[in-house]
């Protein structure tokens, strides 16, 4: 704190001051054990010290957080309107067969959730409940803020300082049930902020699919600042699906950090379809030999949206494998950013890392900045990356046109084809079919938008 107080509150930008004030004001209402309050204190001190990132930082070279700083977001009122069961069925048809937890503005809505009460040790708890004491608290205390440090990350610091609720997921050893775990985050209100926090612990030999779905039911400017920490223990296999489909006024910053133990496998499927400004930060630490990481992502945007994806795969030990496939589709005046970092530490021999980032630019004003990055400090490795930026294949378009397919339909078909690969990679047929529908309709909207703006 000493450093931050020397700066003097008044010299800080308004956006930073706003959160410091809110933190101080909320001091009396905050619940939770003492260690958590200490953690929150440290987090807000970090935030006070670093403030919001500027574009001078290499990490934020292509993304300005000014739109987020300009709005004085408030935590929403306590009476939050949960989606009706009908709405729920419409938003997420796949949720009916899943264990599900529904969060409204970051708070668990128990009526709409279907949680395993006593199902062979599978735990999906509200973080707030877990923190109230008992066995859950010990689990949280042991894992919270371990994977996602906040020292140099303003948004994670904010999340840590303000977090009230979220999900605590523990998949018991040897768990093999196919039934997916579905976490739905609904945002409501106007100029509201939520800081959902998710903690996932996959015990040895377990296998599961976990979906985190961010949606908004109506219009209104919101800011979701999500942090998810994942620990995959020995031999665990996790499919994590992140879907972001909030409204076009929303801001979304998410940070997912995973640590992988021996022979574990984590597949991350990131599908970003909504939001005005989205930043996805994904970090995978391959901490023990035999760990495998598979990152697959699709981002799609039109109008003036800005989508920024950062991935970091850290090969810390020998004999690990990582795969990355990130696809971008941009139309209108949208801007996309991809920065994929692969680090191979000294002695991490036999590392095998592949990264690919093809991008499709559909409109002249769209922009893409990509920066695939390899940092390799061991010699017996196989690493490669590739990135392409281009447009729809003219010959393929011509082929379709010559067979009587309308120009617009042909464009849509080809764009869908380009996007399909990511949705198809999802586990469970029902899930990938659903994701496919989401992507297809997003492509349709994008194509229609662009036609509207051209004529």
């Amino acid at each position: 704190m000493s450093r931050s107080s020397s700066t003097g509150d008044d010299e800080r930008p308004l956006g930073t001051r706003h959160y410091l004030e809110r933190f101080a004001r909320a001091a009396q209402h905050r619940a939770g054990p003492g260690w958590l309050e200490t953690l929150r204190g440290e987090a807000i001190a970090s935030f006070a010290e670093i403030g919001f990132p500027t574009r001078r930082l290499e990490e934020w070279r292509y993304t300005s957080t000014a739109p987020i700083e300009r709005v004085a977001f408030e935590l929403p009122e306590s009476d939050r309107s949960a989606p009706t069961p009908e709405e729920l069925a419409e938003i997420a048809p796949c949720a009916s067969q899943a264990w599900r937890a529904v969060f409204v503005d970051g708070r668990l809505c128990a009526e709409r959730s279907v949680l395993p009460a006593d199902s062979g040790g599978l735990r999906i708890d509200s973080l707030a409940d877990a923190l109230a004491g008992g066995e859950g608290e010990a689990l949280v205390a042991a894992h919270l803020a371990r994977q996602a440090p906040f020292k140099n990350d303003a948004f994670t610091a904010l999340n840590t300082a303000f977090m009230e609720d979220g999900a605590l997921v523990e998949i018991p050893p040897g768990w093999q049930e196919e039934r997916p775990l579905y976490l739905l985050f609904v945002s409501t209100g106007n100029e509201t902020i939520s800081h959902p926090r998710t903690l996932v612990i996959a015990r040895p030999g377990s296998r599961a699919t976990l979906i985190q779905d961010h949606v908004s039911l109506d219009s209104g400017t919101r800011f979701s600042n999500a942090v998810c920490e994942v620990l995959a223990e020995e031999n665990a296999a996790l499919d994590l699906v992140l879907i972001q489909r909030e409204n076009a006024q929303s801001y979304h910053v998410s940070n997912l950090q995973a640590v992988q133990e021996r022979d574990s496998r984590v597949a991350l499927h990131t599908i970003t379809l909504g939001g005005a400004l989205v930043r996805n930060e994904l970090g995978l630490m391959l901490a023990a030999p035999g760990a495998e990481a598979d990152l697959r992502g699709l981002f799609l945007g039109g109008s003036r949206r800005h989508i920024d994806n950062h991935t970091l795969v850290d090969h810390a030990v020998p004999h690990c494998t990582s795969r990355q496939l990130y696809k971008g589709i941009l139309g209108g005046h949208a801007r996309g950013v991809f920065r994929g970092r692969v680090i191979v530490r000294p002695d991490a021999q036999k590392s095998d890392a592949l990264q690919s980032n093809p991008n499709l630019l559909l409109a002249n004003q769209a922009e893409i900045n990509t920066k695939p990055q390899l940092e390799i400090r061991a010699d017996d490795v196989k690493c490669s990356h590739g990135s392409t930026i281009g447009q729809l294949d003219r010959e393929a378009l011509f082929y379709l046109r010559s067979r009587g397919v309308e120009e617009r339909a042909a464009r849509m078909l080809l764009t869908r084809g380009f996007a399909a690969e990511i949705a198809a990679g999802l586990p469970l047929e029902s899930l990938s079919g659903w994701a496919r529908q989401l992507v297809d309709s997003a492509v349709e909207t994008l194509t229609a938008d662009m036609e509207g703006s051209e004529t």
Binding site: P346, D347, N364, Q365, E367, I368, P372, A378
Partner: protein, 487 residues
């Protein structure tokens, strides 16, 4: 000097054969940088007022940057801070003669260049291929060959100082037009204190009949070398230019901050090849040249072309990004690079391709070889501006790792603001295949020969872009630089 440790000298002596010092009387300014130094350099060269102004503006900016600690730190290189007030900014062999013929050049200097394999005696060229050479020794140009023959075609090829005296209009028009004096830390320093370098102007429609070449040599201790090269190819002209460099072995680090500006007008083409072999320091990373160079070419005219080829085997630290600004429609930029780091060498090198005009094309082929404890980064930018319709880029960056203590890093930036552009980037990193090695060993090649052969194959795409003589030199250099890294 590394005299204190005869073992080390013996070891490194074989590897860096250009490490000798020429005993020649030099005229030097005292170390330090201030207005007096800049004015003295300018006065020594009898420069016109506008050039002095250019230098002074640069100096003011540099001192500002120094004050604000704006020395770039983003590159992946690690070195202890440079004391810019402890560098000798001007050193020249004494006396500076008014040269009419080569006979008047100090024989000691001629012998130096003979030892380096660069003949300044025009008639003595053995290969039959004519190469016009401008030899730069410490801070000044000592000789330029084939001047007269070139003049017949209207080609101007001379030292930068001569150009300032004899062709001031040309120099004034193009100096700083590609790399402005305030461009970056090291370019600003160069703009303030540059001493000499080469100047070439190829008039309209002329294809330069021989290779132009500059050979840079750092000799004196404690000096920095700051040369400035300016090459202008007028409409329809073409030229191929070579650059080579060496320095003696010393256990101090010497600074080399050069600026190269290329201008290609309509239909002109410039091919710029570098074989950089500054002293890399010894096995323990003591000594060696800090090579902080700004190279940039502007394809101003339609259908103009600039091609950079570089073989970087020397220097303790290389910080160098030869770039192309593709301004003219249908202009072409190329970058072919082989960089080798062994022992404690570090290199952060790459290119920038800035596409501004329509239908512009660029190709980047970068091959990095890292051995010993060498650290190497490819750092490149491909920017497609909003008006660069149908722009095309292809980049390929491959790294080869030899030994488990070295590193290879790739930092490509692709910024595309036009949807009609096609940009492709590929990078791979791997070690020399055990099977390849086994195959060669089985056929009776020693391990070192096998590695050298594989490395040369790995670099083939770049080496074949070099003019013949240079290609041979480059291959030998790669083999020498690898010595001691295998087994």
């Amino acid at each position: 000097m590394a005299n204190s440790n005869p073992d080390i000298e013996k070891l490194t002596g074989e590897e860096y054969k250009y490490g000798f010092v020429t005993d020649i009387e030099a005229e030097q300014l005292p170390p330090g940088l201030d207005e007096t130094v800049v004015r003295t350099i300018s006065a020594k060269k009898e420069e016109p007022e506008w050039l002095l102004d250019f230098r002074l503006k640069a100096l003011a900016r540099f001192l500002e940057m120094l004050e604000a600690k704006q020395e770039p730190t983003w590159a992946m290189v690690d070195y202890s801070p440079i004391d810019y007030q402890n560098v000798i900014y001007y050193s020249a062999p004494k006396p500076k003669p008014e040269l009419e013929s080569l006979d008047e050049v100090d024989p000691e200097l001629l012998r130096t260049y003979e030892k380096l394999g660069i003949s300044l005696q025009e008639q003595k060229r053995l290969t039959g291929v004519k190469v016009a050479v401008d030899a730069v020794f410490d801070s000044v140009s000592v000789a330029t060959t084939f001047k007269e023959e070139l003049e017949k075609q209207g080609i101007i090829f001379c030292s930068f100082s001569d150009a300032v005296q004899n062709h001031p209009a040309l120099v004034k028009r193009y100096l700083g037009s590609v790399v402005p004096y305030s461009d970056n830390f090291f370019a600003t320093l160069n703009s303030a204190v540059f001493s000499d370098g080469s100047f070439a102007y190829i008039p309209r429609g002329v294809h330069c009949p021989m290779e132009l070449s500059t050979y840079f040599r750092i000799n004196s201790a404690g000096t920095g070398q700051f040369e400035r090269t300016l090459l202008v190819a007028d409409e329809g002209a073409s030229v191929s230019y070579l650059e080579g460099c060496t320095a003696p072995m010393r256990d101090e680090n010497q600074l080399h901050a050069a600026v190269v500006e290329l201008v290609a007008l309509d239909d002109a083409s410039i091919k710029y090849s570098t074989v950089q072999n500054w002293y890399p320091g010894d096995k323990n990373g003591v000594g060696g040249i800090y090579n902080f160079v700004t190279k940039r070419g502007a394809c101003r005219g339609r259908r103009s072309k600039i091609s950079w080829t570089q073989v970087e085997t020397g220097s303790a630290i290389t910080w160098k990004y030869p770039s192309c600004i593709l301004q003219g429609d249908e202009s072409v930029g190329e970058f072919y690079s082989v960089a080798m780091t062994n022992n404690a060498q570090q290199a952060d090198t790459g290119t920038k391709m800035i596409h501004i005009g329509k239908n512009t094309r660029s190709t980047i082929i970068s091959k990095g070889i890292s051995a010993g404890r060498g650290q190497q980064s490819y750092r490149g930018l491909v920017r497609i501006g909003p008006k660069a319709r149908e722009a095309r880029n292809y980049s390929q960056c491959d790294s080869l790792l030899i030994g488990d203590e070295c590193g290879a890093h790739t930092f490509p930036y692709l910024e595309v603001k036009n949807a009609t552009a096609t940009v492709e980037h590929e990078a791979t990193t791997s070690k020399i295949g055990d099977e390849q090695l086994f195959f060669c060993r089985q056929r009776g090649l020693s391990e070192e020969d096998a590695v050298s052969m594989i490395v040369n194959g790995f670099c083939k795409e770049v080496l074949r872009e070099l003019p013949m003589e240079f290609a041979v030199e480059a291959q030998n250099l790669l083999a020498v630089s690898l010595e001691g890294s295998v087994g």
